[in-house]
Protein backbone atom coordinates (compact mmCIF):
# COMPACT_ATOMS: atom_id res chain seq x y z
CA UNK A 1 0.00 0.00 0.00
CA UNK A 2 2.73 2.48 0.91
CA UNK A 3 5.62 3.39 -1.29
CA UNK A 4 7.98 4.42 1.45
CA UNK A 5 9.32 3.01 4.65
CA UNK A 6 7.96 4.12 7.94
CA UNK A 7 10.81 5.84 9.69
CA UNK A 8 9.31 6.19 13.12
CA UNK A 9 9.85 2.82 14.72
CA UNK A 10 9.05 4.22 18.13
CA UNK A 11 5.61 5.39 17.03
CA UNK A 12 4.96 1.95 15.59
CA UNK A 13 6.07 0.25 18.80
CA UNK A 14 3.88 2.61 20.84
CA UNK A 15 0.89 1.84 18.65
CA UNK A 16 1.43 -1.89 18.92
CA UNK A 17 1.87 -1.78 22.64
CA UNK A 18 -1.50 -0.18 23.21
CA UNK A 19 -3.46 -2.67 21.12
CA UNK A 20 -4.19 -6.32 21.81
CA UNK A 21 -4.32 -7.04 18.11
CA UNK A 22 -2.12 -5.36 15.46
CA UNK A 23 -3.14 -1.78 14.78
CA UNK A 24 -4.97 -0.96 11.59
CA UNK A 25 -2.20 -0.39 9.09
CA UNK A 26 -3.67 2.71 7.50
CA UNK A 27 -4.38 4.35 10.87
CA UNK A 28 -0.81 3.64 11.89
CA UNK A 29 0.61 5.05 8.66
CA UNK A 30 -1.47 8.22 8.93
CA UNK A 31 -0.52 8.72 12.57
CA UNK A 32 3.17 8.35 11.81
CA UNK A 33 2.84 10.79 8.92
CA UNK A 34 1.38 13.34 11.34
CA UNK A 35 4.29 12.91 13.73
CA UNK A 36 6.75 13.42 10.88
CA UNK A 37 5.37 16.92 10.33
CA UNK A 38 6.99 18.64 7.32
CA UNK A 39 9.77 16.04 7.09
CA UNK A 40 13.33 15.76 8.38
CA UNK A 41 14.73 18.58 6.25
CA UNK A 42 12.09 21.10 7.26
CA UNK A 43 12.51 20.14 10.93
CA UNK A 44 16.27 20.64 10.62
CA UNK A 45 15.69 24.11 9.15
CA UNK A 46 13.32 24.96 12.02
CA UNK A 47 15.98 23.92 14.54
CA UNK A 48 18.72 25.77 12.64
CA UNK A 49 16.62 28.93 13.01
CA UNK A 50 16.75 28.48 16.78
CA UNK A 51 13.15 27.30 16.99
CA UNK A 52 11.45 24.15 18.27
CA UNK A 53 8.83 22.22 16.32
CA UNK A 54 5.23 22.60 17.40
CA UNK A 55 5.21 19.09 18.87
CA UNK A 56 8.40 19.74 20.85
CA UNK A 57 6.77 22.93 22.12
CA UNK A 58 3.67 21.09 23.32
CA UNK A 59 5.74 18.52 25.17
CA UNK A 60 7.90 21.17 26.89
CA UNK A 61 4.98 23.39 27.85
CA UNK A 62 2.38 20.90 29.06
CA UNK A 63 2.39 18.33 31.87
CA UNK A 64 4.17 15.08 30.96
CA UNK A 65 2.12 12.75 28.71
CA UNK A 66 -0.96 14.96 29.02
CA UNK A 67 -1.41 15.95 25.35
CA UNK A 68 -4.45 14.36 23.74
CA UNK A 69 -4.42 15.33 20.07
CA UNK A 70 -7.53 16.20 18.10
CA UNK A 71 -7.41 16.18 14.32
CA UNK A 72 -4.24 14.09 14.10
CA UNK A 73 -5.22 12.82 10.67
CA UNK A 74 -6.09 16.21 9.22
CA UNK A 75 -4.01 17.01 6.14
CA UNK A 76 -3.79 16.40 2.44
CA UNK A 77 -3.64 12.82 1.17
CA UNK A 78 -2.07 11.84 -2.12
CA UNK A 79 -3.49 8.75 -3.87
CA UNK A 80 -2.20 6.65 -6.79
CA UNK A 81 -4.14 5.72 -9.93
CA UNK A 82 -5.81 2.88 -8.00
CA UNK A 83 -6.94 5.29 -5.30
CA UNK A 84 -4.43 3.91 -2.84
CA UNK A 85 -2.89 6.28 -0.34
CA UNK A 86 0.67 7.25 -1.25
CA UNK A 87 1.47 9.89 1.33
CA UNK A 88 -0.15 12.40 3.68
CA UNK A 89 1.05 15.94 4.22
CA UNK A 90 -0.21 16.81 7.69
CA UNK A 91 -2.20 19.95 8.38
CA UNK A 92 0.02 22.92 9.22
CA UNK A 93 -1.69 23.22 12.61
CA UNK A 94 -1.57 20.86 15.61
CA UNK A 95 -4.22 21.00 18.30
CA UNK A 96 -5.73 19.19 21.24
CA UNK A 97 -6.22 19.07 24.97
CA UNK A 98 -3.48 18.95 27.58
CA UNK A 99 -2.81 19.77 31.20
CA UNK A 100 -0.83 22.70 32.56
CA UNK A 101 -0.15 22.79 36.32
CA UNK A 102 -2.46 19.75 36.49
CA UNK A 103 -5.41 21.62 34.98
CA UNK A 104 -6.91 21.08 31.51
CA UNK A 105 -6.29 23.55 28.67
CA UNK A 106 -7.08 23.72 24.97
CA UNK A 107 -3.85 24.10 23.03
CA UNK A 108 -3.03 24.72 19.38
CA UNK A 109 -0.22 25.95 17.22
CA UNK A 110 0.91 26.33 13.64
CA UNK A 111 3.38 23.79 12.33
CA UNK A 112 5.87 25.97 10.49
CA UNK A 113 7.56 22.91 8.97
CA UNK A 114 4.46 22.30 6.87
CA UNK A 115 4.09 25.05 4.27
CA UNK A 116 5.24 27.72 6.72
CA UNK A 117 2.22 27.23 8.96
CA UNK A 118 -0.17 28.71 6.41
CA UNK A 119 -3.86 27.84 6.50
CA UNK A 120 -5.06 24.73 4.67
CA UNK A 121 -8.37 23.91 3.09
CA UNK A 122 -10.08 21.62 5.60
CA UNK A 123 -13.80 21.15 6.16
CA UNK A 124 -13.34 22.65 9.59
CA UNK A 125 -10.51 24.76 10.91
CA UNK A 126 -8.45 23.08 13.62
CA UNK A 127 -7.57 26.40 15.19
CA UNK A 128 -7.21 30.06 14.48
CA UNK A 129 -10.16 32.22 13.57
CA UNK A 130 -13.30 30.25 14.41
CA UNK A 131 -11.42 26.95 14.77
CA UNK A 132 -12.09 23.78 16.75
CA UNK A 133 -9.67 24.72 19.50
CA UNK A 134 -11.41 28.03 20.25
CA UNK A 135 -14.74 26.19 20.35
CA UNK A 136 -13.26 23.62 22.73
CA UNK A 137 -12.14 26.37 25.12
CA UNK A 138 -15.55 28.05 24.85
CA UNK A 139 -17.79 25.01 25.38
CA UNK A 140 -15.66 23.34 28.05
CA UNK A 141 -14.70 26.59 29.80
CA UNK A 142 -10.99 25.88 29.85
CA UNK A 143 -8.03 28.19 29.15
CA UNK A 144 -6.75 28.48 25.58
CA UNK A 145 -3.04 28.37 24.76
CA UNK A 146 -2.01 29.66 21.31
CA UNK A 147 1.53 28.90 20.09
CA UNK A 148 1.88 31.20 17.12
CA UNK A 149 4.32 30.52 14.31
CA UNK A 150 2.77 31.48 11.02
CA UNK A 151 1.82 34.32 8.75
CA UNK A 152 -1.81 33.36 8.15
CA UNK A 153 -3.55 33.07 4.81
CA UNK A 154 -1.83 32.94 1.45
CA UNK A 155 -3.09 34.06 -1.92
CA UNK A 156 -2.96 30.42 -2.99
CA UNK A 157 -6.13 29.82 -0.94
CA UNK A 158 -8.06 31.90 -3.46
CA UNK A 159 -6.81 29.68 -6.28
CA UNK A 160 -7.88 26.57 -4.39
CA UNK A 161 -11.26 28.03 -3.49
CA UNK A 162 -11.98 29.81 -6.76
CA UNK A 163 -12.85 33.09 -5.03
CA UNK A 164 -11.43 35.36 -2.36
CA UNK A 165 -12.95 35.14 1.10
CA UNK A 166 -14.50 38.28 2.58
CA UNK A 167 -12.59 39.60 5.64
CA UNK A 168 -14.28 38.30 8.76
CA UNK A 169 -15.86 35.21 7.21
CA UNK A 170 -13.26 33.34 9.24
CA UNK A 171 -13.47 36.03 11.87
CA UNK A 172 -12.43 36.73 15.41
CA UNK A 173 -15.90 36.47 16.98
CA UNK A 174 -15.04 33.43 19.10
CA UNK A 175 -11.63 34.83 20.07
CA UNK A 176 -13.33 38.04 21.18
CA UNK A 177 -15.94 36.10 23.17
CA UNK A 178 -13.23 34.03 24.89
CA UNK A 179 -11.62 37.16 26.34
CA UNK A 180 -14.59 37.50 28.69
CA UNK A 181 -14.83 33.77 29.51
CA UNK A 182 -11.53 31.92 29.93
CA UNK A 183 -7.84 32.83 30.21
CA UNK A 184 -6.25 33.07 26.77
CA UNK A 185 -2.46 33.08 26.44
CA UNK A 186 -0.33 33.43 23.33
CA UNK A 187 3.33 32.84 22.64
CA UNK A 188 4.75 34.31 19.43
CA UNK A 189 7.44 31.82 18.47
CA UNK A 190 8.21 32.76 14.88
CA UNK A 191 7.38 35.54 12.48
CA UNK A 192 3.72 36.43 12.91
CA UNK A 193 1.68 38.60 10.57
CA UNK A 194 -1.95 38.63 9.49
CA UNK A 195 -4.48 36.48 11.35
CA UNK A 196 -2.03 34.73 13.71
CA UNK A 197 -0.61 38.14 14.70
CA UNK A 198 -4.14 39.35 15.39
CA UNK A 199 -4.82 36.32 17.55
CA UNK A 200 -1.66 36.98 19.59
CA UNK A 201 -3.17 40.32 20.57
CA UNK A 202 -6.59 38.84 21.39
CA UNK A 203 -5.21 37.25 24.53
CA UNK A 204 -4.88 38.05 28.21
CA UNK A 205 -1.16 37.41 28.25
CA UNK A 206 1.33 37.24 25.41
CA UNK A 207 5.04 36.53 25.29
CA UNK A 208 7.66 36.46 22.54
CA UNK A 209 11.28 35.36 22.20
CA UNK A 210 13.99 37.96 21.63
CA UNK A 211 15.84 37.34 18.36
CA UNK A 212 13.77 34.45 17.00
CA UNK A 213 10.29 35.94 16.88
CA UNK A 214 8.75 39.00 15.29
CA UNK A 215 5.23 40.35 15.01
CA UNK A 216 3.69 43.04 12.84
CA UNK A 217 0.55 43.98 10.95
CA UNK A 218 2.55 43.50 7.76
CA UNK A 219 6.10 42.35 7.12
CA UNK A 220 9.08 43.88 5.29
CA UNK A 221 7.99 43.00 1.70
CA UNK A 222 4.67 44.83 2.20
CA UNK A 223 6.45 47.80 3.79
CA UNK A 224 8.80 47.92 0.80
CA UNK A 225 5.94 47.88 -1.72
CA UNK A 226 3.72 50.30 0.21
CA UNK A 227 6.26 52.82 1.47
CA UNK A 228 9.39 52.07 -0.51
CA UNK A 229 11.34 51.54 2.70
CA UNK A 230 13.80 48.75 3.35
CA UNK A 231 13.60 47.40 6.87
CA UNK A 232 14.43 43.95 8.17
CA UNK A 233 11.92 41.93 10.15
CA UNK A 234 13.74 42.12 13.49
CA UNK A 235 13.98 45.91 13.21
CA UNK A 236 10.30 46.13 12.26
CA UNK A 237 8.74 43.69 14.69
CA UNK A 238 11.33 42.24 17.05
CA UNK A 239 10.85 42.42 20.82
CA UNK A 240 12.61 45.82 21.04
CA UNK A 241 9.69 47.31 19.08
CA UNK A 242 6.77 44.99 19.85
CA UNK A 243 7.41 44.62 23.59
CA UNK A 244 9.70 47.38 24.88
CA UNK A 245 8.50 50.28 22.74
CA UNK A 246 4.95 49.51 21.65
CA UNK A 247 3.57 47.10 24.25
CA UNK A 248 1.96 45.08 21.44
CA UNK A 249 3.13 41.92 23.23
CA UNK A 250 3.37 41.84 27.03
CA UNK A 251 6.66 40.14 27.85
CA UNK A 252 9.89 39.18 26.08
CA UNK A 253 12.13 36.27 27.05
CA UNK A 254 15.38 34.83 25.67
CA UNK A 255 14.33 31.23 24.97
CA UNK A 256 11.19 29.29 24.05
CA UNK A 257 11.54 27.35 27.33
CA UNK A 258 11.31 30.64 29.27
CA UNK A 259 8.20 31.55 27.28
CA UNK A 260 6.61 28.26 28.39
CA UNK A 261 7.63 28.98 32.01
CA UNK A 262 5.91 32.36 31.79
CA UNK A 263 2.73 30.80 30.36
CA UNK A 264 2.62 28.21 33.16
CA UNK A 265 3.29 30.95 35.69
CA UNK A 266 0.57 33.25 34.32
CA UNK A 267 -2.03 30.47 34.28
CA UNK A 268 -1.19 29.54 37.89
CA UNK A 269 -2.84 32.78 39.08
CA UNK A 270 -5.92 32.37 36.89
CA UNK A 271 -9.17 30.53 37.47
CA UNK A 272 -10.14 28.08 34.69
CA UNK A 273 -12.91 30.47 33.67
CA UNK A 274 -14.84 33.50 34.91
CA UNK A 275 -17.38 31.32 36.73
CA UNK A 276 -14.66 30.06 39.11
CA UNK A 277 -12.44 31.60 41.79
CA UNK A 278 -8.71 31.95 41.18
CA UNK A 279 -6.73 29.09 42.76
CA UNK A 280 -5.35 29.51 46.28
CA UNK A 281 -2.00 27.79 46.90
CA UNK A 282 -0.48 26.77 50.25
CA UNK A 283 1.75 29.54 51.60
CA UNK A 284 4.72 29.00 53.91
CA UNK A 285 5.53 32.71 54.17
CA UNK A 286 4.09 33.84 57.55
CA UNK A 287 1.08 36.14 57.24
CA UNK A 288 2.28 38.12 60.29
CA UNK A 289 5.75 38.78 58.83
CA UNK A 290 6.45 42.41 59.75
CA UNK A 291 9.29 44.03 57.81
CA UNK A 292 10.91 46.90 59.71
CA UNK A 293 12.94 47.64 56.56
CA UNK A 294 9.74 49.12 55.13
CA UNK A 295 9.92 51.94 57.70
CA UNK A 296 13.06 53.32 56.03
CA UNK A 297 12.41 52.49 52.39
CA UNK A 298 11.01 55.92 51.47
CA UNK A 299 13.82 58.53 51.54
CA UNK A 300 13.20 61.60 53.69
CA UNK A 301 14.19 63.83 50.81
CA UNK A 302 11.09 64.06 48.63
CA UNK A 303 13.12 64.31 45.42
CA UNK A 304 14.86 60.97 45.92
CA UNK A 305 13.43 57.84 44.35
CA UNK A 306 13.48 54.35 45.89
CA UNK A 307 12.89 50.83 44.64
CA UNK A 308 9.18 50.08 44.41
CA UNK A 309 10.15 46.58 43.21
CA UNK A 310 11.97 45.96 46.52
CA UNK A 311 8.96 47.29 48.42
CA UNK A 312 6.60 44.87 46.64
CA UNK A 313 8.98 41.94 47.30
CA UNK A 314 9.01 42.73 51.02
CA UNK A 315 5.21 42.68 51.25
CA UNK A 316 3.85 39.82 49.13
CA UNK A 317 4.43 36.06 49.53
CA UNK A 318 8.12 35.29 48.91
CA UNK A 319 8.79 34.44 45.26
CA UNK A 320 5.20 35.11 44.20
CA UNK A 321 5.72 38.17 41.97
CA UNK A 322 5.11 37.77 38.23
CA UNK A 323 5.56 41.12 36.48
CA UNK A 324 3.60 41.81 33.34
CA UNK A 325 5.02 44.28 30.81
CA UNK A 326 8.20 45.05 32.79
CA UNK A 327 9.78 46.92 29.87
CA UNK A 328 6.90 49.07 28.67
CA UNK A 329 5.06 51.93 30.38
CA UNK A 330 7.69 51.77 33.09
CA UNK A 331 6.28 54.52 35.32
CA UNK A 332 3.81 51.93 36.61
CA UNK A 333 4.54 48.36 37.72
CA UNK A 334 1.84 45.74 37.14
CA UNK A 335 2.45 42.36 38.78
CA UNK A 336 0.46 39.31 39.67
CA UNK A 337 1.44 38.12 43.13
CA UNK A 338 0.01 36.30 46.16
CA UNK A 339 -0.90 37.29 49.68
CA UNK A 340 -1.22 34.23 51.93
CA UNK A 341 -1.52 32.11 48.80
CA UNK A 342 -4.37 34.16 47.28
CA UNK A 343 -3.76 35.77 43.88
CA UNK A 344 -3.72 39.59 43.87
CA UNK A 345 -2.99 42.17 41.21
CA UNK A 346 -0.42 44.78 42.25
CA UNK A 347 -0.49 48.18 40.56
CA UNK A 348 2.42 50.26 41.85
CA UNK A 349 3.83 53.55 40.62
CA UNK A 350 7.55 53.51 39.93
CA UNK A 351 9.25 56.62 41.37
CA UNK A 352 12.43 55.77 39.42
CA UNK A 353 10.69 56.47 36.12
CA UNK A 354 9.16 59.90 35.57
CA UNK A 355 8.60 60.07 39.29
CA UNK A 356 5.78 57.54 38.76
CA UNK A 357 3.75 60.00 36.66
CA UNK A 358 1.15 58.39 34.44
CA UNK A 359 1.88 58.72 30.72
CA UNK A 360 -0.04 57.20 27.80
CA UNK A 361 1.94 53.95 27.84
CA UNK A 362 1.58 53.40 31.59
CA UNK A 363 -2.13 54.30 31.40
CA UNK A 364 -2.66 51.62 28.71
CA UNK A 365 -0.73 49.13 30.77
CA UNK A 366 -2.65 49.88 33.97
CA UNK A 367 -6.01 49.72 32.14
CA UNK A 368 -5.31 46.31 30.61
CA UNK A 369 -4.09 44.96 33.93
CA UNK A 370 -7.09 46.28 35.88
CA UNK A 371 -9.43 44.73 33.29
CA UNK A 372 -7.58 41.42 33.50
CA UNK A 373 -7.89 41.27 37.29
CA UNK A 374 -11.51 42.44 37.26
CA UNK A 375 -12.45 39.78 34.68
CA UNK A 376 -10.86 36.92 36.65
CA UNK A 377 -11.92 38.01 40.16
CA UNK A 378 -8.42 38.90 41.33
CA UNK A 379 -8.52 41.72 43.93
CA UNK A 380 -6.31 44.72 43.27
CA UNK A 381 -3.76 46.33 45.57
CA UNK A 382 -2.62 49.81 44.56
CA UNK A 383 0.72 50.94 46.00
CA UNK A 384 0.51 54.62 45.26
CA UNK A 385 3.26 57.13 44.61
CA UNK A 386 1.95 59.18 41.72
CA UNK A 387 2.57 62.92 41.27
CA UNK A 388 -0.10 63.14 38.54
CA UNK A 389 -0.30 62.78 34.79
CA UNK A 390 2.93 63.18 32.84
CA UNK A 391 3.42 66.75 31.60
CA UNK A 392 5.08 68.30 28.56
CA UNK A 393 4.67 68.48 24.80
CA UNK A 394 5.43 64.80 24.12
CA UNK A 395 2.93 63.74 26.78
CA UNK A 396 0.21 65.96 25.27
CA UNK A 397 0.97 64.66 21.75
CA UNK A 398 0.49 61.12 23.06
CA UNK A 399 -2.96 62.02 24.48
CA UNK A 400 -1.87 61.45 28.07
CA UNK A 401 -4.92 63.29 29.37
CA UNK A 402 -7.35 61.08 27.41
CA UNK A 403 -5.53 57.83 28.16
CA UNK A 404 -5.17 58.82 31.81
CA UNK A 405 -8.88 59.60 32.07
CA UNK A 406 -9.59 56.22 30.49
CA UNK A 407 -7.67 54.71 33.41
CA UNK A 408 -9.87 56.71 35.78
CA UNK A 409 -12.98 55.48 33.90
CA UNK A 410 -11.91 51.82 34.06
CA UNK A 411 -10.91 52.12 37.74
CA UNK A 412 -14.37 53.59 38.41
CA UNK A 413 -16.04 50.49 36.96
CA UNK A 414 -14.04 47.87 38.84
CA UNK A 415 -16.13 45.36 40.76
CA UNK A 416 -13.30 43.41 42.41
CA UNK A 417 -12.28 44.61 45.87
CA UNK A 418 -9.48 47.18 45.68
CA UNK A 419 -7.09 48.20 48.43
CA UNK A 420 -5.31 51.52 48.03
CA UNK A 421 -2.16 52.07 50.07
CA UNK A 422 -0.52 55.47 49.65
CA UNK A 423 3.26 55.12 49.98
CA UNK A 424 4.18 58.72 49.19
CA UNK A 425 2.41 60.94 46.65
CA UNK A 426 -1.18 60.61 45.49
CA UNK A 427 -2.03 63.63 43.42
CA UNK A 428 -4.68 64.70 41.01
CA UNK A 429 -6.57 62.69 38.46
CA UNK A 430 -3.85 60.06 38.16
CA UNK A 431 -4.39 59.49 41.90
CA UNK A 432 -8.07 58.86 41.19
CA UNK A 433 -7.14 55.99 38.88
CA UNK A 434 -5.70 54.19 41.91
CA UNK A 435 -8.77 53.78 44.05
CA UNK A 436 -12.48 53.27 44.14
CA UNK A 437 -13.18 55.97 46.69
CA UNK A 438 -16.96 55.87 46.75
CA UNK A 439 -17.13 52.22 47.69
CA UNK A 440 -16.31 50.26 50.82
CA UNK A 441 -12.83 49.73 49.38
CA UNK A 442 -10.18 50.96 51.74
CA UNK A 443 -7.78 53.83 51.40
CA UNK A 444 -4.79 53.23 53.66
CA UNK A 445 -1.65 55.28 53.95
CA UNK A 446 1.83 55.16 55.35
CA UNK A 447 2.85 58.19 57.44
CA UNK A 448 4.91 59.30 54.42
CA UNK A 449 1.71 59.72 52.40
CA UNK A 450 0.72 63.11 50.95
CA UNK A 451 -2.09 63.99 48.58
CA UNK A 452 -4.19 66.68 47.07
CA UNK A 453 -5.25 68.02 43.72
CA UNK A 454 -1.66 69.03 43.03
CA UNK A 455 1.61 69.18 44.97
CA UNK A 456 2.21 72.33 47.05
CA UNK A 457 5.30 73.32 45.04
CA UNK A 458 4.17 74.72 41.73
CA UNK A 459 0.60 74.90 43.02
CA UNK A 460 1.47 77.84 45.28
CA UNK A 461 3.18 79.76 42.49
CA UNK A 462 0.06 79.42 40.32
CA UNK A 463 -2.63 80.08 42.94
CA UNK A 464 -0.95 83.01 44.72
CA UNK A 465 0.76 84.63 41.74
CA UNK A 466 -0.37 88.17 42.51
CA UNK A 467 0.23 87.83 46.27
CA UNK A 468 3.80 86.61 45.57
CA UNK A 469 4.54 89.21 42.87
CA UNK A 470 3.34 92.09 45.07
CA UNK A 471 5.36 91.15 48.14
CA UNK A 472 8.66 92.83 48.98
CA UNK A 473 10.50 89.49 48.82
CA UNK A 474 8.60 87.21 46.38
CA UNK A 475 10.86 84.18 46.96
CA UNK A 476 10.42 84.39 50.73
CA UNK A 477 6.65 84.89 50.38
CA UNK A 478 6.39 81.80 48.17
CA UNK A 479 8.31 79.73 50.74
CA UNK A 480 6.08 81.10 53.54
CA UNK A 481 2.91 80.17 51.68
CA UNK A 482 4.30 76.72 50.89
CA UNK A 483 5.10 76.10 54.55
CA UNK A 484 1.63 77.22 55.60
CA UNK A 485 -0.11 74.93 53.11
CA UNK A 486 2.20 72.00 53.78
CA UNK A 487 0.93 71.88 57.36
CA UNK A 488 -2.56 71.08 56.02
CA UNK A 489 -1.07 68.38 53.79
CA UNK A 490 -0.26 66.11 56.74
CA UNK A 491 -1.94 62.74 56.19
CA UNK A 492 -2.92 62.71 59.87
CA UNK A 493 -5.24 65.67 59.34
CA UNK A 494 -7.07 63.73 56.61
CA UNK A 495 -7.24 60.71 58.94
CA UNK A 496 -8.75 62.97 61.65
CA UNK A 497 -11.53 63.72 59.17
CA UNK A 498 -11.84 59.95 58.45
CA UNK A 499 -11.19 60.74 54.80
CA UNK A 500 -8.60 57.99 54.69
CA UNK A 501 -9.64 54.94 56.64
CA UNK A 502 -6.32 54.19 58.35
CA UNK A 503 -2.71 55.25 58.56
CA UNK A 504 -0.56 52.21 59.16
CA UNK A 505 2.97 51.48 60.34
CA UNK A 506 4.80 50.42 57.14
CA UNK A 507 6.14 47.30 58.88
CA UNK A 508 2.54 46.05 59.36
CA UNK A 509 1.76 46.25 55.65
CA UNK A 510 1.87 42.53 54.92
CA UNK A 511 -0.33 41.36 57.82
CA UNK A 512 -2.91 44.06 57.12
CA UNK A 513 -3.09 43.44 53.36
CA UNK A 514 -3.26 39.64 53.90
CA UNK A 515 -6.17 40.11 56.27
CA UNK A 516 -8.20 42.28 53.90
CA UNK A 517 -7.48 40.05 50.90
CA UNK A 518 -8.69 37.01 52.89
CA UNK A 519 -11.80 39.00 53.76
CA UNK A 520 -12.37 39.76 50.07
CA UNK A 521 -13.07 36.10 49.33
CA UNK A 522 -16.75 36.19 50.23
CA UNK A 523 -17.33 39.29 48.16
CA UNK A 524 -15.51 37.81 45.16
CA UNK A 525 -17.55 34.59 45.38
CA UNK A 526 -20.75 36.62 45.37
CA UNK A 527 -19.78 38.22 42.03
CA UNK A 528 -18.63 35.27 39.92
CA UNK A 529 -19.47 35.13 36.23
CA UNK A 530 -18.87 37.43 33.26
CA UNK A 531 -18.50 41.14 33.93
CA UNK A 532 -20.97 43.54 32.40
CA UNK A 533 -19.47 46.22 30.20
CA UNK A 534 -21.26 49.52 29.91
CA UNK A 535 -20.87 52.85 28.26
CA UNK A 536 -18.37 54.35 25.88
CA UNK A 537 -14.81 54.38 27.08
CA UNK A 538 -13.34 57.89 26.71
Amino acid sequence: MHNRELNSEKAKADDEETAGTPINEELHFRRVSALEMGGAEAIERQHANGRLTVRERFSKLTDADSFREVGTLGGSGEYDENNKLVRVTPAPYVAGMARVNGRPVAIGGEDFTVRGGTTFGAARRKGGQGGFIEDLAHYYKIPLVNLIDGAGGTVTSAKRRGYVAFPGVHGFERSVQLLGEVPVVSAVLGTAAGGPAGRAILSHFSVMVRGTSQIFAAGPPVVKRSLGRDIDKEELGGAAVAVDKAGTIHNAVDTEEEAFDQIRRFLSYMPQNVWEMPPVVPCDDPVDRCETALRDIVPEKRTQPYSMHDLIDLVVDKGSVFEIQPTNGKSVITSLARLDGRPVGIVANNPKFYSGAMDAASAHKQIRFMELCDTFHIPLVFLVDVPGFMVGLKAEQEATLREGMRAVYVAGQLTVPTLTLVIRKCYGMAGMATCNKNDIDLKLSWPSGEWGSLPVEGGVAAAFRRDIANSADPKAREKELEAELRAYASPFRTAEAFAVEEIIDPSETRPILCEYIALAEGRLKANLGPKRKAGVSP
Binding site: R302, T303, Q304, P305, K330, P351, K352, F353, Y354, S355, A357, P387, M390, V391, G392, K394, P455, E457
Partner: protein, 73 residues
Protein backbone atom coordinates in the same frame (compact mmCIF):
# COMPACT_ATOMS: atom_id res chain seq x y z
CA UNK B 1 37.65 47.73 22.58
CA UNK B 2 34.02 48.72 22.53
CA UNK B 3 32.07 51.91 23.08
CA UNK B 4 28.85 51.85 25.09
CA UNK B 5 26.43 54.75 24.68
CA UNK B 6 24.69 55.73 27.89
CA UNK B 7 21.25 57.18 27.08
CA UNK B 8 18.61 58.98 29.09
CA UNK B 9 15.44 57.03 29.83
CA UNK B 10 13.55 60.23 30.59
CA UNK B 11 12.90 63.78 29.45
CA UNK B 12 14.36 66.28 31.91
CA UNK B 13 17.54 68.21 32.65
CA UNK B 14 21.03 67.50 33.95
CA UNK B 15 21.31 68.34 37.64
CA UNK B 16 24.79 67.12 38.62
CA UNK B 17 27.64 65.39 36.82
CA UNK B 18 29.47 63.17 39.29
CA UNK B 19 32.40 62.03 37.09
CA UNK B 20 34.84 63.44 34.57
CA UNK B 21 36.21 62.18 31.26
CA UNK B 22 38.96 59.63 31.86
CA UNK B 23 37.52 58.32 35.13
CA UNK B 24 37.34 54.55 35.54
CA UNK B 25 33.75 53.37 35.93
CA UNK B 26 32.23 50.13 37.18
CA UNK B 27 28.76 48.86 36.27
CA UNK B 28 26.26 50.55 38.55
CA UNK B 29 28.43 53.62 39.33
CA UNK B 30 26.46 56.86 39.23
CA UNK B 31 27.81 59.00 36.39
CA UNK B 32 25.36 61.87 36.67
CA UNK B 33 22.00 62.78 38.17
CA UNK B 34 19.17 64.06 36.01
CA UNK B 35 16.13 65.90 37.23
CA UNK B 36 12.75 64.92 35.82
CA UNK B 37 9.27 65.49 37.26
CA UNK B 38 10.92 67.02 40.38
CA UNK B 39 12.75 63.75 41.02
CA UNK B 40 16.45 62.97 41.01
CA UNK B 41 17.15 60.25 38.46
CA UNK B 42 20.62 58.72 38.81
CA UNK B 43 22.28 57.59 35.56
CA UNK B 44 24.19 54.40 36.25
CA UNK B 45 27.04 52.98 34.19
CA UNK B 46 25.76 50.01 32.16
CA UNK B 47 29.31 48.61 31.72
CA UNK B 48 32.81 48.65 33.23
CA UNK B 49 35.40 50.84 31.50
CA UNK B 50 36.53 54.43 31.17
CA UNK B 51 34.27 57.44 30.79
CA UNK B 52 35.39 58.49 27.32
CA UNK B 53 33.03 61.33 26.46
CA UNK B 54 30.52 63.56 28.25
CA UNK B 55 27.95 64.98 25.87
CA UNK B 56 26.00 67.07 28.39
CA UNK B 57 26.68 69.51 31.23
CA UNK B 58 24.62 70.66 34.23
CA UNK B 59 21.36 72.43 33.36
CA UNK B 60 21.26 71.02 29.81
CA UNK B 61 17.86 69.73 28.72
CA UNK B 62 17.80 66.06 27.75
CA UNK B 63 15.34 63.99 25.73
CA UNK B 64 14.30 60.38 26.03
CA UNK B 65 16.93 58.15 24.35
CA UNK B 66 19.45 61.05 24.07
CA UNK B 67 23.05 59.86 24.45
CA UNK B 68 24.50 61.46 27.61
CA UNK B 69 28.00 60.00 27.64
CA UNK B 70 30.05 57.09 26.37
CA UNK B 71 32.04 54.38 28.11
CA UNK B 72 35.04 52.76 26.47
CA UNK B 73 35.82 49.24 27.59
Amino acid sequence: MSITNVSSEVIGSVWKVEMKVGDAVKTGDIIMILESMKMEIPVEAPADGTLSELKVKPEDSVDEDQVLCTIES
